[in-house]
Symmetry: C2
């Protein structure tokens, strides 16, 4: 095990009926005036929102609410939430939803606690976050892992083209997460599949690090990937399979909690690789596509482009996750990439850009994507292999089918 | 995944030189007057204690100290620590040592924060712990997992025979743990081997639960056990092997953090089995033997006695951890037990009571142990299979060779 720091204080309340423990946990973490943040119609239609509000009401916890969070959550909605939270005097932000809702709740918490700062400045790197309000969640989508993670991704819809940016800070760690797998039973297949992909990518991004030699971390990463390969297809067969939906839900949290990447930080302090997330963020920012689908669409092209940097690592993935054997490391590595891409395809995910956005991208579009992803040639992405603007363009081009 | 609650807020600072970050983490968690608790000569002789004190001094943190904690830590020393902490006005207790030192620090924290209650009453179940002081540690022994766990075991040396009892409470979770594997380089082989055994038992006790069907939990448990089987022997060959000592150190924490048992709680709310710990506690309470060695001495007899309750589970251990195959479940289960006992033996651990205590126990001694372990026939132990006083005696008798 190489050096690391690990801090994951989020309390997890997992299982059937867990949402009935929302109020008691809000009290435990000091909340008394709560802004509830949610997304579209489903939280209302399913009755979950009313159930949570009733639970709070019975415990004497005051609440206000803001709905309408969209996938790839927007800054403009965050600003509305901040104004409402300040007016209401909220002392805790409760997300009822998936990653987009939780990320919005995190941004609202940061903005509410820092009235002197424009909230986007924290994402733009112009201001340092030093305080926030506590955030908690009742999770309804297994995917982003935002219920335990220290990250939040917001899309700035006030600029053209829109900017999608992530922020990592300990203040993003929610105080608790309510996780009832039954709340995910009504998810459409597409969302389950994109969720499973996102969950796997959170571990794959950490697995393909510049620094290896973390055996317990590898055991956990490989075990989690096998678990998703086992239960993802079962969930797509029957989204009311408690075993499958619960394994996916808990894997989603663990995959972004940090455990599957401990010790992988490079000399520059960067843990894992994360190139595919950067490649994907530009795609979902530009074409408003589902996050998990954007990851599936570039992973294979990324993997084949960078494999030479450390084929042993891809071969280990093949042996441990897909039980592959072969004559040479290169052979097993290549087969592992094929297997992983094939698995994403079996879930119904796009494994190229044409299937993702609906058309083959033009040369101009590829250039725009590469420019945006490299921040106008001012940054590289990735740590397993560092990728500059030309590398980025080459990967987009290889995925453009 | 079955229902569970998981809360593990301890911050981990892992790697070479981690002890130099002690003061900054004390500050982060609000400490300014710290009672340092340590064990015997090694913390002094190695220079670690001075190093930590200097680190605190430079940061302007006041400290007092109490040494002399013994293995199977004693209540009498805890009482001295409480008196000192109160006199000094300590606002945090810092353990510099292994599990016994950390458990003592936890008890001192509870006693200091509750002057109106006799501290043993929390262990005797006569008083409920509602507040405590923050506890942190600089870890020097990989074994007990107390640096992250919610448990603390204290031996009451004020009664005859002595009583060894455990207490589980969220107040036992330390606020941070400083983990530098190099600090374990000078451990004697016996302590490394007993530590590896203890670490494995913390996962095995959770693995053999009444409730199964937690696949991600199983993946993590099996991965952790494989990791110990890989690195335990390497550490015994060379205790200065950073890879081995670091994998053991981190596995020790993870094994008792809760992750390898999530979802295994029985209808009565008991997570895992823990019969071997109860069997072992009586042995180390009565004969003052090393905790890990006491576990190794009874595990095989326990496993053979209870295997019939769910041979599939032992067979899964055999397949996943020892890569065994065979004609029948029973055959693989039996081979798995042999393999595990053989592994403990290969570490130099006793796998029976004679090797543990130095003589074959008399019938009277077996009766005394069974009476004590069943609290005078007033309790059963174990959840994989519930064991009454006669079962307990039968297991001690089977291990009596």
């Amino acid at each position: 095990m190489r050096s690391f720091s690990y801090y994951s204080p989020t309390k997890i309340i997992f299982g059937e009926g867990a949402q009935h423990k929302t109020a008691e946990n809000i009290r435990q973490f000091g909340g008394s005036r709560v802004l509830i943040v949610y997304g579209g119609k489903s939280a209302k239609k399913s009755g979950l929102l009313d159930e949570v509000k009733k639970n709070l009401e019975q415990a004497g916890i005051a609440c206000a609410e803001i709905g309408g969070v969209q996938p790839n959550p927007r800054l403009s909605l965050v600003r509305k939430g901040i104004a409402l939270a300040r007016e209401f005097g909220a002392d805790m932000i409760l997300a009822v939803g998936g990653g987009s809702v939780i990320d919005s709740a995190k941004a609202i918490a940061h903005g509410t606690a820092n009235p002197e700062t424009d909230v986007w400045d924290f994402w733009a790197g112009k201001a340092k976050l030093e305080k926030s309000l506590p955030v908690a969640s009742v999770l309804t989508i297994s995917a982003a892992g935002s219920e335990t993670s220290d990250s939040a991704v917001i899309t700035n819809d006030e600029v053209e083209p829109q900017l999608k940016r992530g922020l990592n800070t300990p203040f993003n760690r929610p105080v608790f997460a309510i996780m009832n797998p039954e709340l995910t039973y009504t998810l459409p297949d597409w969302q389950i599949a994109a969720g499973v992909t996102d969950i796997m990518l959170h571990t794959l991004e950490r697995y393909f690090a510049a620094v290896t030699g973390n055996c317990l971390t590898d055991e956990f990463a490989e075990g989690l990937l096998r678990n998703m390969i086992k239960f993802g297809p079962i969930a797509l067969q029957n989204s009311h399979d408690y075993d499958a939906m619960s394994e996916i839900m808990w894997s989603g949290s663990v995959s972004h909690i940090g455990l599957t990447g401990l010790g992988s930080a490079s000399a520059k302090g960067k843990e894992g690789d994360w190139a595919c997330h950067q490649l994907g963020h530009e795609l979902s920012g530009k074409y408003d596509v589902t996050h998990g689908a954007s990851l599936a669409s570039v992973w294979g092209a990324w993997a084949r482009y960078v494999c030479g940097a450390n084929p042993d690592r891809f071969a280990q993935l093949g042996r441990k996750v897909f039980h592959l054997s072969g004559e040479t490391v290169e052979e097993i590595a290549e087969a592992a990439i094929d297997k992983m891409v094939g698995f994403f395809a079996s879930l119904g995910m796009p494994t190229g850009l044409k299937a993702l956005v609906g058309h083959t991208l033009s040369e101009k579009e590829l250039d725009e994507l590469a420019d945006a992803c490299s921040f106008g040639r001012t940054r590289t992405i990735g740590n397993f292999r560092e990728l500059d603007r030309e590398d980025i363009r080459a990967i987009y081009a290889a995925a453009n089918c």
